[in-house]
Symmetry: C2
Subunit: 198 residues, 2 copies
Amino acid sequence: MQPQHQSKTRLLDAALLVFRSRGYAGSTVEDVCAEADLTKGSFFHHFKTKEELAIAAAQHFSDRADALFTHAPYIDLPDPRDRLLAYVDFRIAILKGELRDYTCLLGTLVQETYQTHPAIRAACERHLTTHVDMLARDIAAAKARYAPDAAWTPESLGFHIQATIQGAFILAKAKNGAAVAVQCLAHLRRYLELLLVR
Amino acid sequence: MQPQHQSKTRLLDAALLVFRSRGYAGSTVEDVCAEADLTKGSFFHHFKTKEELAIAAAQHFSDRADALFTHAPYIDLPDPRDRLLAYVDFRIAILKGELRDYTCLLGTLVQETYQTHPAIRAACERHLTTHVDMLARDIAAAKARYAPDAAWTPESLGFHIQATIQGAFILAKAKNGAAVAVQCLAHLRRYLELLLVR
DNA sequence: AGAGGCATACCGACTGGTTGGTATTGTGTC
DNA sequence: GACACAATACCAACCAGTCGGTATGCCTCT
């Protein structure tokens, strides 16, 4: 990536927070500008439309997540099963602070725009699938070792993990706290342990 | 509940569809009126504000869901474990037609309004929790019979089930089809089978 | 070095369409 | 005629996007 201007990055970071707090339609361009300490003039210099911002923000979020998970401490574990369980532990561990700091932009965006903004939907689908593909590699390796004959596919389990995480965020929003999400991911971890028996 | 006017019910039914298609902020009052074949004059006769509509729609949705699940065929099954598995099967079976016909209004609403509309958030939390409580009764009975010493609580498993369903809806929206949701719920069913061993 | 020219970045007032909500006026029913 | 319901017209606020303008840096030609 060529070094993009600091202001553009500030706008994207602001968009992550604002969209995750108020949703897409509920956020105004000026909300994002205020969060980034810039003006609308500057905003429309960098982005043609609000929709373009959302698509760029999805990419930005995905890049950040990639960096986070590919540099997480557990990637060095030799056993793919251990890596998978550590991934869930890691996802539990980062459920700290405000909801807008740890919830998923992609889930938030796609939920409310899947029907009205096909381009945003497609971007979210792409990034979510990329993340699941990453998971599915470890899952496939773990399955080969611990449950080679099981009926389920690695990809389907990857999506299941992703679904549980997304749903945990919704419940956390409903209950205004991460506790319920922690419980859900604990169940998810238990499922993985039961599927991949040592 | 006293017999409410037909037009009010039409508006509520319309709100279910419109909010699930376009979200809360993305829907206009006139969208709902058009779907219900009424005008704004009539709308504001029945509801003071758009927010009040959303809260009433959450109640309406919850009532419908209650009716659906308390009259589902499987409630007669004697074994609570069977009832629980049949519940998941039933949830899989109703993933037909358009997304706006089977996704959950509560998850959609709370996702984008938890920060900006506390009253809507609270309504969604209440109805979601009620549904989980209903599940938790069967879970508790099944746990007592098949896994009395397990570490998890019935309530936490109820929320986990709910989370997986909500997340499956998000993925279905991202992929524009129910297939991925079916796979997710199949994993959920497998987890329940593994937890409650006959 | 310095003048001139040009592109990028940024600002903030403005516009035109939209939208939640109101006021007013029917209309059917008891 | 009182009341509930519904339709139309309307208003004020809001918001995405525009536009004219300024500041700053960079390149080129002398």
